[in-house]
């Protein structure tokens, strides 16, 4: 993190925080994806991927968020998954 990043972080206004949080919450509300369903999806993903590689279960994060669509259709919901892979031991 550079000096500028620290500076930037401090200037995020509470209204922008509110907007960001709302956009996330509404994306999952609109997709009809309750926290319970997200938890099930998360567990299924862990089971599937763990068959092949070792992943950091505690660091796994999935959420529905909105991003700009590729064909200019405005904001579209995407399922975002961040799945850290555990360090690969050699030999």
């Amino acid at each position: 993190m550079s000096f500028l990043d620290i500076f930037k972080k401090k200037t995020v206004s509470s209204s922008n925080i509110a907007k960001g949080r709302l956009q996330l919450a509404l994306a999952s509300d609109r997709a009809g994806c309750s926290p319970e369903i997200m938890e099930k999806i998360k567990n299924d993903i862990i089971n599937v991927i763990s068959k092949y590689i070792e992943i950091d279960v505690a660091g796994l994060d999935i959420k529905i968020q909105q991003t700009e669509g590729e064909n200019g259709e405005g904001l579209v919901p995407v399922l975002f998954a961040n799945i850290p892979v555990k360090e690969i031991r050699r030999g």
Binding site: S13, S15, N16, A18, K19, L26, D29
Partner: protein, 261 residues
Amino acid sequence: MGEVIVVTSGKGGVGKTTTTANVGTGLAKLDKKVVLIDTDIGLRNLDVVMGLENRIVYNLVDVIEGNCRIKQALIKDKRYNNLYLLPSAQTRDKTAVTPDEMKQLCDQLRDDFDYVIMDCPAGIEQGFRNAIAGADRALVVTTPEVSAVRDADRIVGLLEANEMKKTQLIVNRLRMDMVARGDMMSSQDVVDILAIDLIGIVPDDENIVVSTNNGEPLVGGDSLAGQAYMNICKRIAGEEVPFLDLSARKGFFGRLFGRKK
């Protein structure tokens, strides 16, 4: 034939009743014939905001159950003789009325009035379904707060599912000083999030509290909220009115640093 409009929000306390009272009174000021219906059965309050609480004889449930004719239950406003209120029942609950019955009532009233405006209860249960059943247009009221906006989004979804023909947003209680320093979402932020048409921005205004104390809607007066409500009425009636420049009242420093976008 008149238009039936429901004022709704999901969350309570964001200004549905105040909006209903002011929009109704404002349309009456524009020489439209208007009837306001309080559909919040069991929690009656549009009558006190309008200052008509002492004149109630019959109520909405009496009309639905046939205990009286519609005309007997309508209370004429104190100041405008083309404005009427159909009050809610205080001692019954939401199940006393069905969506079909409300729709029939609205269809009867639209023959005699230019606008039928319904104050919807908070929540998404039967009271909400009753209120939206006969409506052609919904005004969704929200404040620029996360809880109110989230509930408004849910309401917009439910209105879509119920095939509401027109859904428009009112951002209420906006504080430009807080928006300017980044501590409150702007009306544009709320529009970005909800993605529906904006029909009004009402600034937070102490005069609203005073007018509610007095039971006299302030629409059309000199106050900022009074002007904002009158603009909403004109837009409802089909006139194109630019949004108030609320930032004009900012001090020197506010102007110096401008509105960050």
